[in-house]
């Protein structure tokens, strides 16, 4: 009898233990508009990829977006590296955390950093993967000092080196796994250090990640995250409301009131570190910068934002963002002055010549609606703008067909003019070097390009600020383009999930930013 009692007690305790250890964390389902073709961290960096890979990889230094209310902070915090020191103006020494585990159980060492940032992979003369080259080009090489110490060297003095290490393309991959599998197999089943690791990828249906419980940033709060492809927005909304999904992405602004009508759904919006801009090709009637400035002056950006985005976004004051280290807070806003526009057109002798605005349909959210509204604004000051929506970029930039204005977006990949303004509008940019038709290139004043050199090479913040202000003035005066606003990305989330979006397309599901249950809804 005693033996039987002991046996029953043992069985009961065993079951109790199993019950106590059972993983009762929820499975999170995120309905997304599309899935990537590759999860290699530098091969595909569009929104469909980075919202997944951000949970699978870590950089050495991390940008703490959530340090401010808007989710756009540029504060840097330790990632895989626990500390770093700038040895000289080209070298940063980083001390890696000890015991950081990859998804396969390997420990992160300096060899993985050397491999991840080696030129042959992403930024050499003819690298394995070309898509991240532009983001890694300033890298020279990585020196392993010991198992947990590396020195990363840039080609030239780089004031933004730490920001670059925290940016796109600098995530650390497992060298052993990568070399064993090869690039393509690794892209299907990558091994990083992030809070979630690959479980299952069913082409065209879903990618499921499961918790990496050895994550150095704490135990993940969800048991798994499934990114399910649901291209149709109404199906995403229906699925969220009916309980199939926990989070949906890419909600158009006109659906926000619908979603806000449900008590168990919360809408989360974030203004992206991306600006919708217009490019003015300096040809035909736009060869005169006064006509280009008139185009910019006659746009009522407040009205556009109010009508299209519910005034929940903003227009930057100049080609910059508040998160920039060099932010010029007192730089003037883009002016709306139809009277000044009319005067400029008169001075320029503009006689109603046709201006062709070509745009690819369904590329930028609400770009057609914005174009139609701007056409009316331009008409009011006497600008004769013809809208030509086309199917793709090749048709927009066709050298054999007229185009004077086209839409564009500038992503501020690093919170500095070197992250967007210089690469997008500087002397090496496509704007100044139009490959489709050289006549469409903007002939920037020599001074503008000199200022770019100061921004690139100077290590003095004050000197860089002055150069930036002057460059922005020239840009506004010359008007090779103008800015409209930063778009919103809208997510809808079950109300009992506490999660905040950030100002890039990353979805941060690290333990501190994902909580479930009644505590979350408080």
């Amino acid at each position: 009898m005693r033996i039987l009692t002991a046996l029953l007690t043992a069985i009961f305790m065993a079951f109790g233990a199993v019950s106590a250890n059972a993983d009762d964390r929820p499975d999170l389902v995120v309905a997304v508009n599309g899935l990537p073709g590759s999860l290699e961290s530098i091969e595909e960096m569009g929104n469909v990829a980075v919202r997944i890979t951000y949970s699978m990889f870590d950089p050495l230094i991390r940008r703490n977006f959530l340090a401010n209310e808007e989710g756009s902070s540029s504060e840097l915090i330790p990632g895989i590296a626990e500390s770093w020191t700038k040895i000289d103006d080209r070298t940063v020494e980083l001390k890696l955390r000890e015991g950081v585990k990859f998804h396969n159980g390997d420990e992160v060492t300096s060899d993985d950093v050397v491999f991840s940032l080696n030129p042959g992979r992403g930024h050499g003369y003819n690298p394995l993967i070309g898509s991240a080259r532009r983001l890694m080009l300033t890298l020279s090489h990585v020196e392993p000092i010991d198992k947990y110490t590396v020195r990363i060297v840039s080609k030239e003095p780089d004031v933004l080196f730490e920001q670059r290490l925290a940016g796109y393309a600098m995530w650390i991959v497992n060298a052993r796994e990568y070399m064993l599998k090869g690039k393509d197999a690794f892209a299907r089943n990558p091994v990083g250090t992030g809070p979630y690791k690959m479980d299952e990828w069913v082409d065209g249906e879903y990618i499921r990640l499961v918790a990496h419980d050895d994550y150095f940033g704490g135990k993940p709060t969800a048991k798994s995250i499934t990114f399910r492809a649901v291209p149709e927005v109404s199906a995403r909304i229906a699925g969220l409301v009916s309980g199939e999904y926990d989070i949906i992405v890419n909600v158009p602004p006109d659906q926000v009131p619908v979603l806000e009508g449900y008590d168990d759904v919360a809408v989360k919006q974030v203004v992206l570190d991306n600006t919708h801009v217009l490019v003015f090709f300096p040809i035909g009637p736009l060869a005169d910068s006064r006509v280009r400035r008139a185009l910019s002056l006659s746009i009522d950006r407040d009205l556009l934002r109010e009508a299209l985005w519910g005034d929940k976004n903003y227009t930057p004051n100049g080609h910059q963002l508040p998160s920039y280290g060099l932010y010029l807070a007192n730089y003037p806003d883009f002016a709306y002055d139809p009277e000044a526009a009319r005067e400029l057109l008169e001075e320029a002798g503009y006689n109603g010549e046709e201006i062709v605005y070509k745009m690819p349909l369904n590329y930028y959210l609400l770009s057609l609606e914005a174009a139609q509204a701007m056409q009316q604004m331009w008409q009011e000051v006497g600008l004769n703008v013809k809208l030509e929506p086309v199917e793709n970029w090749t048709q927009v930039t066709d050298p054999n067909a007229p185009v004077h204005v086209r839409p564009w977006s500038n992503t501020h990949r690093i919170p500095d003019p070197l992250g967007s303004f210089v690469p997008q509008w500087g002397k090496a940019s496509g704007i100044q070097n139009n490959n489709d038709l050289p006549e469409r290139s903007w002939k920037a004043p020599a001074r503008f390009n000199e200022l770019q050199d100061v921004l690139t090479s100077s290590t003095s913040t004050e000197e860089r600020k002055q150069a930036y202000r002057e460059a922005l003035d020239i840009w506004n005066e010359e008007a090779p383009g103008t800015m409209l606003y930063n778009p919103l990305e809208t997510y809808a989330v079950k109300a009992d999930i506490q999660w905040r979006p950030v100002s890039l397309y990353y979805m941060d599901f690290r333990p501190e930013n994902l909580q479930f249950g009644s505590a979350a809804s408080n």
């Binding site: 309905a31 599309g34 990537p36 073709g37 590759s38 960096m45 569009g46 070309g130 898509s131 080259r133 532009r134 393509d184 892209a187 069913v202 082409d203 065209g204 249906e205 399910r228 492809a229 649901v230 291209p231 149709e232 109404s234 199906a235 995403r236 909304i237 229906a238 699925g239 409301v241 009916s242 309980g243 199939e244 590329y363 199917e391 793709n392 970029w393 090749t394 048709q395 564009w408 977006s409 500038n410 992503t411 690469p423 997008q424 090496a428 940019s429 496509g430 070097n433 490959n435």
Partner: protein
């Protein structure tokens, strides 16, 4: 069946597919640069040049075409630009889902379309007939994307009894199959009705009646087999269209079939995948037409296997 007849059909099929491949090859390349579609809008020229070279797009278009055709003869359908997978494998992996959706919607269309058409013909010019014709026009006219979204709103959003998207269970199949099958069923009903009306007025039907054959016997033995020939034509053509017509439905319901892959690949100018899908669509059309031709001969002995009526010999 004469061997020359099959040979001629096969040659015609190869010619059709070559024309499709050639047409698609040039049209896709002339209407958009895959690199511009696949990379972000702010990449630099070096990156664009890197991928153009990698994918062979920096070669003259005729060189690209020659290389593609040579590879095709070796069974190499190319690599997807987007995920570096073998294009044929990628497309074939989606085929079962589309086939399942197509089959279920076809069965749905036949089960509802044929009886409705027969009833409408038998009750010609009555309220029943007008109802069936009205339903057929409605079903045929209602766009798939609209019907699909209506169903999602009703059964997923409000009633919450069916999943809105995906393909994990049999419940996921109901709304997409209904959406795809409705328009097809409506067409079947219309064709069945007109074919039946035509047959019911034939002299042999009166002969059968005068011989004392009952209603059911006349219907199953004389009317339906004779009305089946035009129906087989339309069903054959529709089977060929199944992949193409599933595009919208698959997108609305996130059904992971070939239709959705096609939309995505066209938008991204994933050339090898688009070409592979269109070859499969062309092949389906050709094969279904061939099957229809063969069925003709089996259903109507007056029609020879080479397609010419006995009377014309």
């Amino acid at each position: 069946m004469r061997p020359t007849y099959l040979l001629w059909k096969t040659l015609r099929a190869i010619l059709t597919m070559w024309l499709v491949v050639t047409f698609v090859f040039f049209v896709l390349r002339l209407t958009g640069d895959p690199v511009a579609q696949l990379l972000p809008d702010d990449v630099d020229q070096n990156t664009i040049d890197f991928y153009r070279h990698l994918w062979g797009l920096d070669q003259p278009i005729l060189v690209q075409y020659w290389r593609y055709m040579v590879a095709l003869t070796q069974g190499d359908f190319g690599i997807s630009f987007r995920d570096n997978q073998d294009a044929l494998q990628l497309v074939l992996s989606r085929l079962p889902k589309t086939a399942l959706l197509g089959f279920v919607s076809l069965v749905f269309a036949l089960v509802f379309g044929i009886p409705l058409g027969v009833i409408a013909a038998l009750k010609k010019d009555t309220a029943v007939d007008r109802f069936v014709v009205g339903f057929a026009v409605f079903g045929f006219s209602l766009p798939n994307f609209f019907l699909g979204i209506l169903l999602i709103l009703a059964f997923s959003l409000h009633l919450r009894i069916l999943p809105s998207s995906g393909s994990d269970s049999w419940q996921h199949l109901i709304m997409p199959a209904f959406t795809l099958g409705t328009a097809f069923g409506a067409q079947i009903a219309r064709y069945t009705r007109s074919a039946m009306i035509d047959v019911l007025n034939k002299p042999y039907m009166r002969t059968a009646e005068s011989k004392g054959a009952g209603d059911l016997l006349r219907l199953y033995r004389h009317a339906l087999p004779n009305a089946a020939i035009p129906l087989i034509t339309i069903i054959g053509l529709k089977m060929g269209e199944l992949i193409g017509s599933a595009v919208i439905t698959e997108n609305v319901f996130a059904w992971p079939g070939i239709g959705r892959l096609l939309t995505f690949s066209v938008a991204a100018r994933d050339l090898a995948v688009v070409q592979c899908i269109l070859m499969i669509i062309a092949l389906t059309m050709v094969v279904s037409n061939l099957v229809v031709d063969i069925l003709y001969g089996w259903l109507d002995p007056r029609i020879r296997a080479d397609g010419t009526p006995e009377a014309a010999r």
